[in-house]
């Protein structure tokens, strides 16, 4: 594994940005990795985004700042535009329901229709974040065990466990 894996999740309040970060971090802890997660609760006056910066490593982590994300998950237009330039070698996962991808970016960009799918397949937008978690888990399967991510996710989500598991599997199967 690479020495240090950086994940940036950003969107607006209520999309589960913090939860996604928590589930990944917690899974990392369960796998014996070191992890840090910084949460910036942006209000409208501060750019209108919420951001989780997650770092995982086999060694103790010095800087907790995500400067060069391996995975950038953009769940809003503001978040995408603000942080897309940080990505140099990683991938961007974006929700086309909110984000119009920049064709000039020289990195891999993967659309993930989480909001629409959650509504169509599971009946509620609420489950979009579990779809995202599933997709990230697939992408990060070299590092994090799927079952452990699911366990961590359910610990961080108090309700609707069956639906969330379904949503997770859906996300996992898409990528």
């Amino acid at each position: 594994m690479a020495k240090r894996t950086e994940v940036l999740v950003s969107g607006f309040g209520g999309q589960g940005v913090v939860r996604i970060g928590q589930a990944l971090s917690l899974a990392a802890v369960y796998q014996g990795l070191y992890t840090t997660m910084l949460i910036s609760h942006g209000t409208e006056t501060r750019g209108g985004y919420v951001r989780s910066q997650v770092v995982m490593s086999e060694e103790p982590i010095d800087s907790p700042v995500v400067e060069n994300p391996d995975y950038f998950c953009a769940l809003s237009k503001a978040a995408y535009n603000r942080f897309k330039h940080l990505v140099s070698h990683g991938v961007i996962i974006y929700d086309p329901g909110y984000v119009e991808p920049d064709p000039n970016l020289n990195v891999k960009q993967i659309p993930l229709n989480a909001r629409d799918l959650a509504e169509k397949e599971l009946g509620r937008e609420l489950f979009a974040n579990a779809i995202v978690m599933g997709a990230l888990s697939k992408l990060m399967s070299g590092l994090l065990d799927k079952d452990i991510v699911i366990k961590a996710m359910l610990e961080r989500i108090p309700r609707f466990h069956e639906e969330n598991k379904k949503a997770f599997e859906l996300g996992y199967s898409l990528l």
Partner: protein
Amino acid sequence: MKRTLDTGNAAITEGAIIAGCRLFAGYPITPATEIAENMSRRLPQVGGYYLQAEDELAALHICVGASLGGLKAMTATSGPGYILYADPYGWAIGSEIPVVIVNAQRVGPVSGITGAPGQGEFYLSRYPTQGGNFETIVLAPNSVQEAFTLTVEAFYLAERFRTPVTLLADQLVTDGWETLIIPETEEEIQAMGLKVIPRRINEGPEFYPATDEIDIPPVVLGHNTGAACSDWTPTAEGYDTEEVEWQHKHAYRLIYKIRNHKDLITRYESYFLEDDPEVILVSYGSPSRVVKSAVKAAREKGLKVGGLRLISLWPFPDEIFTKTAKYLSVELNYDGQLVREVQRAMPKGSEVHFMGKCGELPTVAELMELIEALIKGQPLKAKPWEMEAW
């Protein structure tokens, strides 16, 4: 050992409980509210008391009063509450009452930006009250795990030195999530090197001896020891006096019990200091995490860079500034606070430069740019308030 993912706020709560804290009085304020909330849940489970006070003045006074009655106590706040502590903080310093105070620093002045990290109370924590004639003890964690261990340490030092100890954290440390390892048995507590001393009771009649000695039990009321403690200058027995000789003795004690035992307090970390660094980055709290990454990255590039991370801030560890070098102080403020102490402590022939940021951490990339410029002897320009030769 319990291995979890948690916040600095939770780490401080658990540290306090392991240290024997049994009373917390607080007042809601971002980003320290979560400590109060955690305490309100955890303390009753271990037989402790949680109170919400009418204001921060009352919060710390209630803690000090409880400590005066024999309970270990803690409060937590951020800048706007920390300034309201001035009155009880002074009372506890003068009457030599152990208590632990957490300040999760945010961006100031005044209310500033509530949920973003700052480092504006470096000097305030040295002079948290009026009148002078005292030293303070201040510890600064830079991780969730260290927030835990330093909270235990803060209680330990508070008991030994009979004085308030401030844990000067910042929003990223308190709100940030990280791997947290918590000991669950007595053996594990010891294995982690954590030290806990129970409250002792001063039997008198000399409650305020004119000595720099530590490990003197504090005044505890309710045991009919005939103790007296007040905001006035005390005689050895605690009587209020206006005699300058007693004032001198009291001041001597408050200053030198700490100065003369500084080695028991001072904690720091250094990187590559023995390797002829031309540039030394100085920091404390959350920025020091990025600084460490930057120093390592610079060394990988073959640059002669070192780092000093302060864990105890006050009394200021002058003695660790032994290298003549170009110092770069990296802080979460724009006015440069640590930089002045570095300037005072560094050997002749050194330079000190400043990199300030507020609300978010600097990046490794930003620091590398500065390190390279300093090594090449180029002036630091860019935004004048951010990077400036001091």
